[in-house]
Structures are given as structure tokens and as C-alpha cells.
């Protein structure tokens, strides 16, 4: 089985994100970028499937500007076999990403697509679901465990009040949750070896996909600053304020 894994270049999870002064977005210049943490989990799961003999080849895909190659290279250094960059300067929305992934699925015919449940920048949590819908494939979202049978996979999902297990016929789309695995980091020898792994660059036009944005961002603003608290004189005053001002009791 071939596995397609999507990896997104996002602002590193340790970076304190700053909004641009003109409100057009967040500051990304001179900011440390790395692979979306949920996508690392996706790569790790694919690697484990390969190590277990369930998969033969792992293709890591990223989309966006030239620098997204770094993210693909991280996936290759972790152990993916080859990379594909769909290069575009356009700001990609989840639907555009899903359409590009569909085009790649038709080209590569993987038995499984694994993507992060969401990217930590846009927090859309839409791409995997949209991809499954437009492919007409079953989807196992927010997966915390995968168990393979001959032509199906049992996906454990963490839902309110317990665990839900769904059985999907392959090929299928999986989106990863935090507890699926703990991703490895690339060893230094593997980083050096990854240079020799093939990386292909395509464009949306070559894949026949229109990625023109359909949503306009009106403004990006910082979350409101917390106001300073006040001291109350008595428990009675506290209860009164909680009831009448905060309206929480």
C-alpha cells in the first residue's frame, strides 16, 4: 500500500504569534517555521505502518511557497520516501488544498491518505473531511488508534463520553488526533541522507486545479487584553458580583 501524507508549514508551536500592524494577518517573516504538529503525527503513523509491513511507500506532500520544501525535507528526514511540492504563492484555503490533494490522489493512487486533524495556524479542521467528500472515500477523523485488516481499517476516535470505533473500507482518509502516537524527530544521519530522496515540484495549473481564494479575510486582530481584576471586601460582595455582573451563578 502507498500512503500519501500531507504536511503543512506553520509557525512553530513555541513561537508567540504576533498580529501584523496593518491587521492583514500574522507576522511570519523572521519567525521560526516548522511542520504542523498534527502532520508530524500523520508522518509518524505512516512510518509505523511501513515498519510494520502494512505500507510500502510514503509520499509526503506540501503546498505553498518554495520554502515549504523544508517541511517536506523534514518528513523525508523522518523517513518518508519521496516528496511532492505543489508550489504556489496563493494563500490556500482548505477546499483548494482538498482539491489539490484529490488531483494528487488520482495521480498517485494511494491506499490511504493521512492528514493532521487541523493545522495550528488556521485551525480550520476541514481539509481531511473535504478531501474524503470530493473523493467519495470513507473518512476516519480525529483518530487515536488505527488497526488494519485486509482491505479495511478500524479507526478509534475520541468522542465525548468515550471511544468510538469505525470500520472504513480502503482506500480511506484518516485525520490524526494528538494521542495517535508520539512522533520521532529526525536523526542527524537521516537528515543528511534525506537530501538524496526525490522531490518533485508541481503547480496547481499542472494539476488542473483553480486555487483562487473564495473567502476574504476582513481583519486579523489580537485577542482582547485581559482587564485588571478587582478586590472585593467580602464573600457576600463576591457572590453578588458573580451572580449579577458575571452572571455565572
Amino acid at each position: 500500500m502507498k500512503i500519501l501524507v500531507a504536511v503543512k508549514r506553520v509557525i512553530d508551536y513555541n513561537v508567540k504569534v504576533r498580529v501584523k500592524a496593518d491587521g492583514s494577518g500574522v507576522e511570519t517573516s523572521n519567525v521560526k517555521m516548522s511542520m504542523n504538529p498534527f502532520d508530524e503525527i500523520a508522518v509518524e503513523e505512516a512510518l509505523r505502518l511501513k515498519e510494520a509491513g502494512t505500507a510500502e511507500e510514503i509520499v509526503a506532500v506540501s503546498m505553498g511557497i518554495d520554502r515549504c520544501q523544508e517541511t517536506i525535507r523534514t518528513a523525508l528526514a523522518m523517513g518518508a520516501d519521496r516528496g511532492i511540492l505543489v508550489q504556489t504563492e496563493e494563500e490556500l484555503e482548505p477546499l483548494a488544498v482538498a482539491k489539490l490533494l484529490k488531483a494528487l490522489v488520482e495521480r498517485e493512487s494511494p491506499g490511504l491518505v493521512i492528514v493532521g486533524k487541523q493545522a495550528i495556524d488556521g485551525d480550520h479542521s476541514e481539509t481531511g473531511q473535504m478531501l474524503a467528500a470530493i473523493l467519495g472515500w470513507p473518512q476516519g477523523t480525529f483518530a487515536s488508534k488505527l488497526e488494519f485488516e485486509t482491505d479495511s481499517v478500524n479507526v478509534t476516535r475520541e468522542v465525548d463520553g468515550g471511544l468510538e470505533i469505525v470500520k472504513l473500507k480502503l482506500p480511506a482518509v484518516i485525520t490524526t488526533d494528538l494521542r495517535l502516537n508520539e512522533p520521532r524527530f529526525a536523526s542527524l544521519p537521516n537528515i543528511m541522507k534525506a537530501k538524496k530522496k526525490p522531490m518533485e515540484t508541481l503547480t496547481p495549473a499542472e494539476l488542473g486545479v483553480d486555487v483562487t481564494p473564495r473567502v476574504t479575510v476582513v481583519e486579523v486582530v489580537e485577542p482582547p487584553k485581559r482587564k485588571a481584576g478587582i478586590r472585593v471586601e467580602s464573600v457576600q460582595a463576591l457572590v453578588e458580583k458573580l451572580r449579577n455582573e458575571a452572571k455565572v451563578i
Binding site: E70, R73, T74, A77, F185, A186, S187, L188, I191, M192
Partner: protein, 383 residues
């Protein structure tokens, strides 16, 4: 071999992950109990750190000194002792790589790179350190072996490691004495005893041992370069990289002290405002940051000169001197900024404060560095 900027970024990202996941959460407990970090060493093997500067032809990564210094800085900013586990190991490896015979390189370097065979260099003796020509450890040829007698002290990785590059006298009468000095690779075995683990105020966790050689037989094949009388030059060549590496440790500690101070000064309040708004603290932060930046630039310049194959004893000496004094300075200032919390065993600052002074002593004292710098100044600028 050069490493592209892209590779360097990936390498440093992996190092950061390793430090965040496998080192930072354990550093405090391991250091407090002076425990050798075995699990961390296993992770370092997998990560490939033991082959960082070894030629790829012999199974290493062939990283440049510039990239290597950045790795050392990062590791030391989290826990300096961890850098000691691979630093002197790689100086031993560098001596084999630069001066060893082809057979020695094929025999040792791949195992060094994988971390299967780990060790360091053994130079210092109980009554001689800076003045290496005065060493007394003796190696006498007997058939196809050398018989080694003597003792060495303050040897990193000597207890947990399996092999050391040991500086010995093969001809004690030689004049100048350096012509009678040789470097032998000695594996643990009969006659090679670790007499004790030394207690230190800082740099805990890593094993600093005192060694005794008592009629220890070492095959003549283990003489680095297969020719006697070259040992001092072989080891001095490695010390340039050693000094760059100690400078990078200084940068790491100095940065950790600054980072924690900048964060704390914004949170701690006195007289109704964060202490970072008081001039007395601002002056400290500015001084720490400026010295840190200068240290980093000096270290990078020395590493670049080393990579380009230029003479860099003065440059490495300047970097070592300035960066390690900065580490000491920043650790004291960080303690003042943190007040009682800086003095507390529950936080990191007191550890930096205990670790930093080693850097002014080890790998050539800072007094010695000044002499090297001055001599080079004169030599490079004849009147």
C-alpha cells in the same frame, strides 16, 4: 564537506526537539544526584551526535565547526554536562581522523561515530595541566606493545567510556620534550584502572575520573599516526576545535542566563512595576545581551576560520576567553536579577553559576589564552 543552511536548520530543529523532550525535563534531577545520563546517551547515539564532526567516509556526519558550535551552544543552554559527553569524544576522534593511519581510521572512526566506542582525551596529570610537556606518564616499547605507567586526572568520559587517547612520554630524555611525546589509544583492560570519580561543584552527571596505568600493555598499532614523538602536536591541533567548543558552551550558558533573566524581569514586580522597567535591571540586561552577542560572533568567526583551514589559535583563544568570561558574568547577573530564586536549588540559575567557572579553567585556562593571543599578536605583526 559543507552543510547547507537548509540542512543546518533541520539539524538544529532536531537538536532542539531532543533537548526539549529528552534532556530538559530530566536535567534537574540528574544533576542534583550527580547521575550519569545513560538514557540521554542512548538518545544521542540514535541522533548521531557522536559522529557529528567525523568524516562521512568513516560513518560520521562531517559537520562544519560552525554548525557544530551551534549544536554545542544549544545543548549547553539546557545542560552543559551533556555536551561534555560528545565534546572530548570528538576531539579524540579528530586526532585519529587527522593523524591516524588509514587502518586506524577504518578500525575506530565508524565505531566512534555510532557511539559504540566512546571516550575522550587524557592529558592532565595530578601535578601538571597547562604545562603538558611536563607529563610523567611513560610508555616503554616491549615487543609489539607499549607498557604504560602513570596517572591522569580530571578525565571526562573515563569512567563510562571505553577508550581514551592518552598523552604519554615515549622518550623522557628528548629535547625539546615534545619530541618524546606520543598519543596512544588505550581501551579499557588489564592495567587500566579508574581509581575514583572526582567530586566537583558543577558539571555534574558527567564522569570526571582519576586513572592509573599500571604496566598496561597497549598494542603498538594504537600509536596514533604510527610514529613516536608527534603526540603533542596532534593534541594541540585538536585543542583549537576544543576551544571553539568550550567557547560555544560559554555562549550557551550566557544565553540561558539572559533568556531566563529577560523572562523573569517582566514578571517580577517591585514598587508597582516589573523590574525590567527599573534602570538598574535594564543596565544588567543590556550588558548581558551585548556580551552574549559579541561572544557568539567571536565563536562563529573562529569556527569559520577553522572550517576554512586557516590558522585560528588566536581567534579560538579570543572566543574561548571572551565567551567563557561572559558565561560567568551572565550567571552572576542572572542570580542578582532573580534574587533569592536565583540562589535557590529549585531553579536553573544556580546551576549555570556553578557550571560556568569550569569554562575559564578547562581546555586551557583563560590566563593561558591571553598569553596565546599576545604571542600571536606579536608573531603576526613583526616590527
Amino acid at each position: 564537506m559543507t552543510v547547507s543552511n537548509d540542512d543546518e536548520a533541520l539539524i538544529l530543529a532536531s537538536i532542539d526537539r531532543f533537548l526539549e523532550r529528552d534532556v530538559a525535563p530530566h536535567a534537574h534531577a540528574l544533576e542534583a544526584s550527580d547521575t550519569y545520563p545513560r538514557d540521554i546517551v542512548e538518545q544521542m547515539k540514535e541522533l548521531g551526535l557522536f559522529g557529528a564532526t567525523i568524516d562521512p567516509e568513516y560513518g560520521g556526519l562531517g559537520l562544519s565547526a560552525v554548525t557544530y558550535a551551534k549544536i554545542v551552544e544549544r545543548v549547553s543552554a539546557v545542560w552543559m554536562s551533556v555536551s561534555g559527553i560528545f565534546n572530548s569524544h570528538l576531539i579524540m576522534a579528530a586526532a585519529v581522523q587527522r593523524f591516524g593511519s588509514e587502518a586506524q581510521k577504518r578500525h575506530y572512526l565508524p565505531r566512534f561515530a555510532r557511539g559504540e566506542l566512546r571516550g575522550g582525551i587524557a592529558l592532565t596529570e595530578p601535578d601538571c595541566g597547562t604545562d603538558l610537556q611536563a607529563i610523567r606518564t611513560r610508555a616503554v616499547r616491549d615487543g609489539d606493545a607499549y607498557v604504560v605507567n602513570g596517572s591522569k586526572t580530571w578525565i571526562s568520559n573515563s569512567i563510562e567510556g571505553q577508550i581514551l587517547a592518552v598523552l604519554v612520554k615515549t622518550d623522557p630524555q628528548a629535547q625539546p620534550p615534545r619530541r618524546g611525546m606520543s598519543l596512544l589509544l588505550i581501551e579499557k583492560g588489564p592495567g587500566f584502572e579508574v581509581s575514583r570519580k572526582l567530586e566537583k561543584i558543577g558539571y555534574k552527571g558527567i564522569d570526571s575520573g582519576e586513572l592509573t596505568f599500571d604496566d598496561c600493555r597497549v598494542p603498538v598499532d594504537n600509536l596514533i599516526g604510527e610514529e613516536e614523538g608527534r603526540g603533542l602536536n596532534q593534541i594541540l591541533a585538536g585543542l583549537e576545535l576544543g576551544r571553539i567548543n568550550v567557547a560555544a558552551r560559554g555562549v550557551g550558558i550566557a544565553r540561558a542566563c539572559l533568556d531566563e533573566s529577560v523572562a523573569y524581569a517582566q514578571v517580577r514586580k517591585t514598587f508597582g512595576k516589573p523590574i525590567c522597567e527599573h534602570q538598574s535591571i535594564q543596565i544588567k540586561l543590556a550588558e548581558m545581551a551585548t556580551r552574549l552577542e559579541a561572544s557568539r560572533l567571536l565563536t562563529e568567526a573562529a569556527a569559520r576560520a577553522y572550517d576554512e583551514g586557516r590558522r585560528c589559535d588566536m581567534e579560538a583563544g579570543m572566543a574561548k576567553l571572551f565567551a567563557t568570561e561572559t558565561a560567568i558574568h551572565n550567571s552572576i547577573e542572572a542570580m542578582r536579577i532573580h534574587g533569592a530564586y536565583g540562589y535557590s536549588k529549585e531553579f536553573n540559575i544556580e546551576r549555570y553559576y556553578r557550571d560556568a567557572p569550569l569554562l575559564a579553567i578547562g581546555e586551557g585556562t583563560n590566563e593561558m589564552q591571553r598569553i596565546i593571543i599576545a604571542r600571536q599578536l606579536v608573531e603576526r605583526n613583526p616590527a
